[in-house]
Symmetry: D2
Subunit: 456 residues, 4 copies
């Protein structure tokens, strides 16, 4: 029985792909002669610090809704630091426990060989017989978030919560290739971006039509850019209105994309908060009108309120200050983009490595009547004054991917790149070929670069 039928039985993708090569030829757009294809991939095995090595693999044939993409560029996402690099200088952190994109991590000692990386851009090389969305030769984004168009969430305008992502677990992976010793190799999150070829399912693929340079395209299509631009410009959650006051808490590549999204959407005041000076500098470069350092100014909530007050504070005249028990003015929109540290950074550390403080401050610095959009992967529990939570007048949007619908919004974001509205180069401060991946990922882990793109 073929693999794709198991989807509706909640055992998505559990079985080994067994489709006969001949069937692909019968239905495919073009015969998908990919069985003997060899390619390089960073394969992660076991739990040590040298768990990830560059290997030459042999591709398995694709079938059903699967397809093969020749990688042009992939972002080295911070949420994969633990899974790729293993334990660094921070034994307290739990590497690989919270992968963005819902994908499974190779736990310490996990026997599986996995290609990490949960996103990328490239060219479709071959498609399984049921693939409808793209054909060989198309340029595509392999998105960290899938979009099926038929599940409960996709149907209700919440493709950022597409159930193909939520229901997928470690057991749903299938082998995509074999090592020279015959070991089967799997793709993290059904993507496996740290390789010359990605094997994925149709739902994860978005066709894009652009001549943008691979590194720029890899940047704008990365899960962090999509989430940052989504949180500020997509209709799903709380799109920024022109002339508004936006606060961005955390200026990694996600937060810096939110800064750009706020600028693109016409915000007049954009306050960016991060303890790392280099990030604040980039924030100013890409659109922030103010930056705050939570180490130097521990009461950032109060500072945001001051920056968002107006000369006019009179009730009858539309003044912003709400006064009373609910506190003063605040931002119209707060985008929280902090999250937990995977390892101790080699730059200025944030006040709270769990990311909880940032979440709570984000909530507090929002004006009554304003919107808080959270996007991060924190550790622990968030605690909020119950009265403020209950009737404080704030709307809180908890979205995945910043509310972006990959099929609808990634082409829009590529348009922002092509029209020079989005600055990819300011964020992709490290660009390396496939061989340079490990060094680049260490820069990401220690936050000594904004983010890194591997071209392949």
């Amino acid at each position: 029985m073929s693999k794709q039928r198991t989807v509706s039985r909640r055992e998505i993708l559990k079985s080994t792909a067994m489709a006969a090569a001949g069937s692909a030829a019968l239905f495919g757009q073009a015969p998908a002669v990919v069985t003997t294809r060899r390619f390089r991939a960073w394969v992660t095995r076991g739990g040590g610090t040298s768990r990830t090595t560059l290997q030459e693999l042999t591709l398995r044939p694709v079938t059903g809704r699967q397809l093969v993409v020749r990688t042009e560029a992939t972002n080295l996402c911070y949420s994969n630091v633990g899974a790729v690099l293993g334990p660094l200088n921070n034994p307290g952190a739990a590497p690989g426990t919270a992968p963005r994109g819902g994908g499974p991590a190779a736990g310490p000692g996990g026997g599986r060989a996995i290609v990490q990386g949960h996103g990328g851009v490239g060219i479709v090389e071959a498609v399984g017989p049921e693939v409808r969305r793209v054909k060989a030769g198309d340029r595509v984004c392999v998105s960290g978030t899938p979009q099926c168009g038929s599940c409960y969430q996709c149907l209700r305008g919440r493709a950022d919560m597409c159930q193909f992502l939520a229901r997928q677990g470690p057991n749903d992976l299938f082998p995509i290739a074999d090592m020279s010793d015959g070991t089967a190799v799997y793709a993290n999150s059904l993507i496996g971006g740290l390789a010359e070829l990605m094997v994925t399912n149709e739902e994860w693929v978005v066709p894009i039509f652009t001549k943008a340079a691979p590194a720029d395209l890899g940047m704008v299509c990365s899960c962090v850019s999509v989430a940052g631009l989504g949180a500020t410009t997509c209709p799903t959650l709380a799109p920024v209105q022109p002339a508004s006051i936006v606060d961005v808490v955390g200026c990694g590549p996600l937060g810096l994309s939110a800064v750009q999204g706020a600028r693109i959407a016409g915000a007049s005041t954009i306050i960016a908060i991060d303890s790392v000076k280099a990030r604040r500098d980039v924030a100013l470069q890409v659109g922030a009108t103010h930056v705050l350092d939570p180490l130097a100014d521990r009461n950032v909530v109060q500072r945001v309120r001051e920056l968002s007050s107006t000369p006019n504070n009179r009730l009858w005249s539309g003044g912003r200050d709400s006064g009373g028990l609910l506190g003063g003015a605040g931002a119209d929109y707060v985008i929280e983009a902090a999250g937990a540290d995977a390892v101790a950074p080699k730059v200025e550390a944030s006040p709270d490595p769990t990311g909880i403080l940032a979440l709570q401050q984000a909530y507090d610095m929002c004006a009554p009547g304003g919107h808080v959009v959270t996007t991060s992967l924190p550790r622990g529990k968030v605690t909020i004054s119950a009265v403020t939570f209950a009737i404080g007048g704030k709307t809180h949007h908890a979205g995945q991917a910043g509310g972006a619908n990959p099929m609808r919004d990634i082409p829009r974001f590529v348009e922002l790149l092509d029209k020079k509205q989005y600055n990819a180069k300011a964020l992709a401060t490290t660009v390396v070929p496939i061989q340079g991946m490990l060094d680049a990922y260490e820069q990401v882990a220690y936050r000594t670069t904004i983010t890194a793109i591997m071209t392949a």
Copy 2:
């Protein structure tokens, strides 16, 4: 200098009203000869258990934006229990610390004489010279939430957060009448509903045009009905869609109005949760399709998920169950209407007298992609899993008055009463004349009635 000018200097209503009677005649619609008017009112003084007594007062003249309303009916709101009745059998609770409507409470030993009650319906007797919205003879609701139409919140579609409410503190009250011994009497929340006359400001008044019976009208115009109907039927927060699954946590008069709002808005499944059997019975009477007792079924979150699952659970077919780390199905809308106990009830007590558990369960029983609307006055802090909070896909709306804009929505709710869509009698289970107020308020305090209406 007259009082109304001080509004724009953020000292709203601080000064004693001193306007000369002559000025009212100059500008008013009709000479407001009300200076010698005598009326009965429940006046609260000091901190003991017999703090509230029925007194005959002499009205002071109104001026500026003030007006006088002859009370037809007023709801005995649970949030005023401590202020009206003083310490009952529950020394642990903090009476009067969290009055709905932002009004000040008479603290223990507070020297002021205050008419409690933060809402009511009646007929306008006289208006100050600047009043535009109503004229003498109009039937009006005196709303617990004001609407000015010019403040930052009113202008942005959040009249439920009208800054006239948020900025008002205990020092903003002005004396409305005098006791026979010359003591000045103030009106709680600028309303003072527990009296034959209410003196308020224009912003708190909504003209309504109906022939409904006073008790029914007092019920539907009460702050709790407005909040419950607002949370389910107003466009401000998350109006219930036809055919959806709605969960209401807490079935006091606010929650039971939310049950009715959900029914009116066409919900197909309405799950009402309360530990008090009498409330669950009324919930079934006014529209709930299911009721849950949190004492009998401690895992109400799981029960709601089961009740909101569907026969179809397949991904490709729009099945509700989201699976994965984010948990199973849940309600499309959760209306939280629990809040903290002011005193220990004489009926089945809820599992948590602070109201925190209800808030947290409300959040948990909402489906990913669904909406949580909170409306209560809890005590303490709410704690939520940070990852669920950050990216769990729920939208949380913290509104005052359920997001209702009094001027827009209270006439709509009266229309629902007039067209027999809203059942007021099922909620107003106690109706008393002014002399019976104290007994009726004890029933409210001990939750032995759904709610009580005082007609005057």
Copy 3:
């Protein structure tokens, strides 16, 4: 080469289905042994009045995204009158020129043999190998409007405009069965509901899970019910708010479903307009609070304005009457559901057989700030005062299927049926077995019944 691949080359469905039967067995959920299945179908050929005859056909094998549904019930939609019955007593009308659902009509003299009918409900008998959404044994609605989940419109929340509908033309049909003389038979709109079996593509199918009776289910899932309920209860266009004033122009089964949707959504005033007394009677039965006869009261626009005025007409008090050049009050929502006559009715004829007058009146009777939703198939051009059109303050929503997203909304509408919120029997005033189809369709054509359901 298989048919389903041509989709992405804009030649959707043009080619004859040629898939080998063997391939279905390879990928399918179950071997689809349907090649020798015989079934009865009403087949339309040529242009005369007896163009449609009951035939026994032999099913062709299905492949790709195709599937076979055993019909339980199908609605005899007025928009197909000309195509099914041919020229009746109304040579002026253009039969078959404007089929709802975008499907092609058999023009006079058209050589093709076609099974008319653009919707139905039934049980899936067999599925092609690429079908993901349903499996054999599922109960489904075959929807007049498809939903693909991947096209520009579906991605932007406008599945009612799914491009699979818009791009489809007469040449995109493929033969589904053969007559005994070897003539190939096609299915109108890729559906062909007037038969014991329907062969369609996956995009047209919505899985539903209910035990409702076939005729009731066929009614609520019909294109007209979906459009009427969609226009009033779906978030796509202008969902009716509780306590509002709704006007429905035209009370065929679409308009009567809109009346019901308005009632379900909590409207307080529902004004239904139709020249046919029997329809007005049903309108009152299913929720209208007022009915108007445009023959008796030619100035229905003015009557609607009067019925939507309120006792309070004062500016400062939220009175509805807008006065001035823009005219008086009007309905909050106007649902236009008239359309052109295919033949002269044998009941009270509407004032304008083209449907243009109804469109223009619908626009005029909407209040400034209100919403007009149009759903009909008129003939000709609509003419509106340019200043009113430009700045009159009305929002006009032109949707297909009332804005309903079939996959999201049809299960919701079935829920409304199951919970007895929607009254199907009041609309399905004629129910016939397959042999009675022609007689029943004549009743529909002459408007002597509300609508008719054929069970099979």
Copy 4:
């Protein structure tokens, strides 16, 4: 009895202001000693070509909700051309018949002396005793559209349709000053911007807090800028989303403000259409990515469709082209800003002086699923294919002032000016002192300048 009381009896502002000077002193923030104030104003009398002359007037005392504003700058709006200049070279046009802002025009032979001009910016000099919104010394915009905050439209989020505007007619004006010969002088639209002082009512005034230069401020606060920015950036109608395709039909100052609003809101493609080359040049300067000349390219609808098509046209891949009967791609948003000619321009004339063709083309060039926002003052009737109108999938928003709520949005637009997001100087191509008004208005009338600002 004072004037302001008549408001609620629908006779707003009909009576002559008769308040005693003393009363102002009693309630006012500061004694408003303005009775002997003299000022220059352009006064229009009679029907000839030299109807408008510069006069020195004596201000009448203000009372109630009235206030006096010392004019800093006022825009010479095209819609007043006929009223100010009288018959020019275009007897076919009907001068003064369609004043923007609902104000009355001085008909030929009309006996009244009127100060034309329906907007301006300045400093409050004195306020009547009931004014709450501003105080003496405030910088304000006197808006062509009022905002009362209490009428039916303001309460429902449609302050652009504030009923104070709609209900106001020629008879509602009151005299604000006297000529040296004793003739009473009125202010057009309750504003009268063509003078050193404006006397208006509180509802027309918006407090702003900025140090912007008067001419720039007069530009951004003009009714045309407000409408253009409103139509693109306000939440009322259809705010432009980032990365979208926007088409602006007509590039006078309103259309050019819409071009800027589209740029500010992040549109990626902005197509500006006008027959005047100088306007197209400014369009490119302020943000248009493409310009079209309807004289050179008569099929502008088709050109917009071509410019809004994408490389990807495949159904499964989200391609824009909808195909089928509903036509090809189109703009996501079309802002119509053409309107009728008051006189024949001395530059390139548009293809249709009535403005009807522009309206119809605007409708046609919108994509199915897209939004058409109309803002103009056309002459005649608009005619649209009934099927396209009924079910073509377009949403049409007919707003006043582009949907802008003056109190909410004008401060936002001033913020856009202050942060250099809005370019005022490119539009205010003529700036004159009060003496130069007539010459400047002729430039506006003949369209030889973009627009003109009179500083005073």
